[in-house]
């Protein structure tokens, strides 16, 4: 009988899982279920080129390997529930499977305060980016809530498009969690030099409609007018459809180091939604929202699933993917490896390896004497050399 694997989630992780199934010699049926109508596309350009340059789905769609040409794409219909290895979608379509790959990713978190709904936007999908692009007209007053990756990139892109941009965040500096306060401050200064205004260390007290748009009241009483509010305050893993299966859904879906979902049978998870331990750092399961993780976890998850189904050997090696991320803001490109956010608070845990924070630089992040992350501007070659030392005493 033909075997069937159902992949839930049709973004990078879902596509890479389908490709991995074929490259690891699974010759049964593959179904990919996705909530968006679009075939898998690359998300990093959404906060950059897609906002700035009017690009379409075609420009950001992933090339697909010939081996996945017979995959059944069930798009525009989100999964609603899982029972064993049977997936049911919102439209009521039921897919029985021999194995399930969870790749449902995350969605943006938003401020629970009501108000100015028609002027509030988030950025996760291509449709989000196209809708936001319409609002980023020259002179538009853009209020970005959140100073992480997406918030900083949107602030930079909107400023370049001629918008007046303010950033509000509870953090004391932009991108403080991955970069630390000194690097965050240097990043803020680069934004300020281009005209971005920051309101940091403060929350939002109220969001109200005005005839022209919205007004946001900060914790200290400051009022900021906006024609559009972009909320970039983090993410929520898409796990509601997995309830009732005995999985740990505390923050994403808990997996073992082989990407096997704990409490499941022939169920694995990949990408942003998967919380798994990475012995490169320690034994704490974490979700890692970095671009290379869907690809790395998809390969491992498929190896595990095929092994558990008796269709492959699995792997006995410990799985230690190296997180890699980057961010483009104005003419600045940050490149990073590892998990710099794990750095300790001791003197010497965060050090400048070369250059300085006003220009090209490499910053190293340590925890208890081990290198846990590196972030660089420029110095590409040096950064690549240091990558090999992550996880080691240094």
């Amino acid at each position: 009988m033909t075997q069937r694997i159902v992949i839930v989630g049709a973004s990078l992780g879902g596509l890479r899982a389908a490709e991995a199934l074929r490259s690891q010699h699974f010759d049964g049926e593959i179904v990919v279920i996705g909530d968006e109508v679009h075939a898998p596309y690359n998300r990093p350009p959404l906060s950059k080129e897609v906002l700035a340059d009017q690009v379409s789905h075609e420009a950001v769609a992933f090339r697909q390997r010939a081996s996945v040409s017979d995959v059944i794409w069930h798009l525009g219909d989100a999964a609603q529930s899982l029972s064993g290895t049977t997936v049911t979608t919102q439209s009521g379509t039921r897919f029985d499977a021999d194995g399930v790959v969870i790749a449902t990713g995350i969605r943006p978190r938003t401020n629970p305060l009501a108000g100015a709904a028609s002027h509030r936007m988030t950025l996760r999908t291509l449709d989000d980016a196209i809708a936001l692009r319409e609002r980023l007209q020259p002179g538009a007053k853009v209020l970005v809530v959140g100073a992480g990756f997406i918030g900083c990139e949107v602030a930079a892109t909107a400023t370049t498009l001629g918008c007046q941009v303010s950033v509000v965040a509870v953090d004391e500096e932009p991108m403080i969690r991955p970069l630390g306060s000194s690097f965050g401050a240097a990043l803020r200064q680069r934004h300020e030099a281009r005209g971005v205004t920051f309101h940091l260390g403060t929350g939002i007290q109220a969001i109200d409609d005005t005839p022209e748009g919205a007004v946001v009241t900060l914790g200290d009483g400051t009022q900021l007018e906006a024609s559009v509010i972009v909320e970039a305050i983090g993410s929520i893993p898409n796990v509601e459809w997995l309830e009732g299966q005995g999985f740990d859904l505390t923050d994403g879906v808990l997996c073992d180091n082989d990407m096997r979902v704990i409490g499941g049978d022939h169920v694995v998870a990949v990408g942003d939604v998967a919380r798994f331990p990475n012995p490169l750092f320690d034994d704490v399961p974490r979700r890692i929202e970095h671009w290379n993780i869907p690809t790395d976890t998809a390969r491992r998850a498929v190896m595990t699933l095929l092994g558990d189904l008796g269709l492959g050997e699995g792997s006995k090696e410990s799985f230690t993917p190296m997180p890699a991320f980057w961010s483009d803001q104005f003419d600045l490109r940050l490149q990073a490896f590892g998990l710099p956010g794990l750095a300790g608070n001791e003197p010497g845990d965060v050090t400048i390896e070369c250059g300085d924070l006003s220009g090209d630089v490499i910053v190293a992040y340590r925890n208890q004497g081990r290198l846990v992350g590196i972030v660089g501007v420029g110095f590409t070659k040096e950064l690549q050399a240091l990558r090999a030392e992550i996880g080691m005493a240094r």
Partner: protein
Amino acid sequence: MKIVVDMNVCQDHGQCVFAAPEIFSLDDDGHLVYQSDVDEALREKAEDAADVCPLQAIVVED
């Protein structure tokens, strides 16, 4: 097998260098250099390199 990299798109992230060091490397200035004619035996590695390119600038042709 031929490798084509759109050098207008490439931003020297270097992910391909880790995936397929036999094909890709960075020069002393940190810019990408690569072999365009590659032995068929390296196809899987070349495909891996194309997968991990953040800019999706690498095409593996037959």
